[in-house]
Amino acid sequence: MKEFINLIFSTDFVYSIFRVMTPLLFASMGAVISDIAGTPNIALEGLMLMAAFSGMYFSYLTQSALIGLVMALLTAVLFAGVLAFFTLYYKTNIILGGIALNSLASGGTVFLLYLAAKDKGTSVSLASKTLPNIHIPIIENIPVLGGIVSGHNILTYVSVLAVAFTYYLLKSTDLGFHIRAVGEKKAAAESVGISTTKIQAVALLLSGVMCGFGGAFMSMGYVSWFSRDMLSSRGWIALAAEAMGRQTALGSAAASFLFGVADAVSNAAAAQGLPSDLVKTIPYVATLAGLTIFSVRLYRKQKEV
């Protein structure tokens, strides 16, 4: 137990929280933007998976991590566009579209992986590139803090920027206002000549960009290859984080952080010999408990008045 406590208070552990939460931050920001626009995108998981594949594959082909990243973004945006096209133009139910896209991604990436690497499991046989880790000059040398804050993958820093971007987008840009207006009252936006289809499409595409980053991080930062179903529910967890954060950028970021902590704790607990089946539920139990406490308090508050 003592060892476990030591582990949890080590810099490595705190450092790992940031690593764990990076894809969640990206995806939950994607969820926030699309949800506020009234088009809840539940295909986060699938979009990230496709982006992860594409980033790996193109960085392998071109031997350039940058091109890999760009292609990951393009891929996620392209499929977010497919979702937008079907749901906005053809009026496919967006949830159904999301489910369909997730299954497309899960099967499609394995299929492509097989074509590319003659392997249905991982792409390790393809020497793909990774995005660099960044060491922040002065901070790096500060004890403890340096070990926690410096040396992360560049996309981890970008994910923090993504939170700021989402926050300011929705708070103080015209696009953000249009997104909010369309999500809250479509007819109102329409009546002042805003194309609601266009705004919702842009919101979905933006959530695609976020998923592109999240996916690229998975295959070009977190690890250096693509593997089948490598997102392992991170997209769904991001969705939960977004709901827990009440559709706000900062709230969802906080929820992602909590989730990252819980996940890191569960990893540590698994290595301490606690029953692994139960230990792996820690993040979910934590989220459930957090949401329950949160809801009960909100309910009480509302009831008082």
């Binding site: 103080s172 909010r180 007819a187 194309s195």
Partner: protein, 519 residues
């Protein structure tokens, strides 16, 4: 070149579900006029205006704007051509501030971000220019309807609307607000704006409009000069037949007090005392009217009576029984009916069929059940009877309620609440947005119900309605009852207005009669 600024010729509109909303409409506007568009519910007025505003595409016909044939593929183009529309239902983003709503879609910017100061300044400037003062930083959700209506008009004008379409703007306004609106419209007219005015209230049309176009069943009947027709003639043209809307009242005979409210106080979330010592009682066989400018506590009072708000202080009894511990379900069990103000929000479930909407408050009724299941034969009989009795225009009881026009939807609500003969009926704005014919049916029903021994509490902003129906009448001002009339004889709208605006008030003894009178 004609002298019309706008002509719409042979317009037809068929909706995707096969409903023919407009079949052959001819409509024109002269520059600088106020033009009324009238017709029964579902006649196709809103549809025609949505076509003009580019929100719907006509199936046939042409639009000629300033002598040029025009096709609008969206409202953006219509706005650019100087057309503005205030919709029948508010088109405001409730969580935005007034300024944000006004500049929505044309936000001033500073670099990448919105320039809030500029938006506020612009809103103030527009408000002053058109004499429609609004507070730019107020959150829209918190505004009373009258102000929301102003924001809507300002929104259209701020976009440079020369032709302004107002779809039933007065349905939700109080007489004072209507007067103010009319003043503003006159000013706009003087500034050269052309206004299309849709309303079901014929007197106000006579008051403000220059010409009137009447529609029926998706077609234009004719266009009249306002000065050349009487109210009765307009009404006849709308309904397509002679209609006598006067209501016979029988001898008044009151029984015991079914609703008793005593010393009711209420303080809302923001700490404002919205109800102050309200006491009254409604006896059997009586229509008790409550008049007042909106926002003087009526909403909170009704919310308390219908169990959507807690009784903080004071007493409410139905049939002598304290109801502070019961919920909405509970009072439904004791012969209670309620016609809500907002039919779409509470009154109906739009995707559920008319039949099911009509029995939703009476599911425990054994008549409608057979072996634990709903007895659809009985239900259909009941529903068909009501569709006939209330002249609800629909394809049948199995049609989803959401497909009905607003007036017909209202009739569904009234039929449901009245046909179970509740001992207590609370009617809140029962004829809002309803055409003359339907309003007449609803009025007749309320009177009939109280003749059968129900207690009806009627809250309405429509003074003509309240004067016509009420047996006794209370006026609310700033959360208090400031006047109580034992009879409406000799009362008129002007007189009532003085009490509603707090200029005059009755003595405490007279007001106490609202309670004492029962003993």
């Amino acid at each position: 070149m004609s002298d019309y600024i706008l002509e719409m010729n042979h317009i037809a509109k068929i909706y995707g579900n096969g409903v023919v909303a407009n079949s052959d409409v001819n409509f024109n506007l002269k520059k600088g006029e106020i033009h009324a568009l009238v017709g029964e519910n579902g006649a196709g007025k809103s549809t025609l205006m949505k076509i003009l505003f580019g929100m719907e595409q006509p199936s046939r016909g042409e639009i000629v704007l300033r002598g040029k044939k025009t096709v609008f593929s969206g409202s953006k183009e219509a706005i650019a051509s100087g057309i503005g529309m205030v919709h029948q239902h508010f088109m405001l983003v409730e969580s935005f501030s007034v300024a944000q709503n006004i500049v929505l879609g044309m936000e001033p910017k500073k670099g990448l971000f919105i320039n809030h100061e500029e938006a506020v300044r612009f809103t103030r400037e527009m408000g002053e220019k058109y004499n429609l003062p609004v507070e730019p930083e107020e959150i829209t959700k918190n505004l009373p309807v009258g102000l929301k209506q102003k924001v809507e008009i300002l929104k259209a004008l701020a976009r440079g609307a020369e032709i302004l379409i107002l779809d039933e703007p007065t349905a939700v306004l109080t007489p004072q607000e209507i007067d103010q609106l009319f003043e503003e419209l006159e000013q706009l007219k003087a500034q050269g704006h052309t206004i299309v005015f849709i309303s079901h209230k014929i007197p106000e049309i006579k008051q403000i409009c220059d010409r009137i176009t009447v529609m029926r069943s998706g077609r234009t009947i004719d266009t009249y000069l306002c000065d050349e027709v009487t109210e009765q003639q307009i009404s006849n043209a709308i309904m397509g037949c002679e209609l006598n809307t006067s209501i016979e009242r029988r001898k008044k005979e009151y029984g015991e007090a079914n609703i008793q409210v005593a010393n009711l106080f209420y303080t809302d979330k923001s700490g404002v005392q919205v109800l102050k010592n309200i006491s009254f009682c409604v006896r059997k066989g009586m229509i008790f009217g409550i008049a007042g400018v909106q926002g003087n506590g009526q909403v909170e009072l009704i919310d308390i009576l219908t169990r959507r708000r807690a009784v903080q202080n004071g007493e409410v009894r139905f049939y002598g029984q304290d109801i502070s511990g019961t919920d909405q379900k509970g009072i439904r069990g004791i012969s209670f009916g309620y016609i809500p103000e907002d039919r779409l929000e509470q009154g109906v479930a739009a995707s559920v069929s008319i039949s099911e909407n009509m029995i939703s408050n009476n599911l425990e009724n054994q008549d409608f059940q057979k072996c634990g299941m709903l007895d659809f034969k009985k239900i259909d009989e009941f529903v068909d009877k009501n569709i006939k009795g209330y002249e609800i225009r629909c394809a049948g009881g199995s049609q989803p309620t959401g497909m009905l026009s607003g007036g017909n939807m209202q009739k569904v609500v009234v039929a449901r609440e009245c046909e179970h003969h509740p001992g207590i009926l609370i009617a809140e704005q029962p004829t809002r947005g309803v055409d003359v014919g339907a309003a007449y049916i609803i009025h007749k029903k309320l009177v009939q119900l109280c003749e059968q021994g129900s207690s009806v509490l009627l809250v309405s902003a429509d003074l003509a309605e309240i004067l016509k129906l009420s047996d006794v009448l209370a006026v609310m001002y700033e959360g208090e009852i400031v006047a109580f009339f034992e009879s409406t004889e000799g009362l008129n709208e002007e007189k009532l207005g003085l009490y509603m605006l707090g200029i005059e008030r009755h003595t405490p003894e007279q007001i106490r009669k609202a309670v004492n009178w029962c003993e």
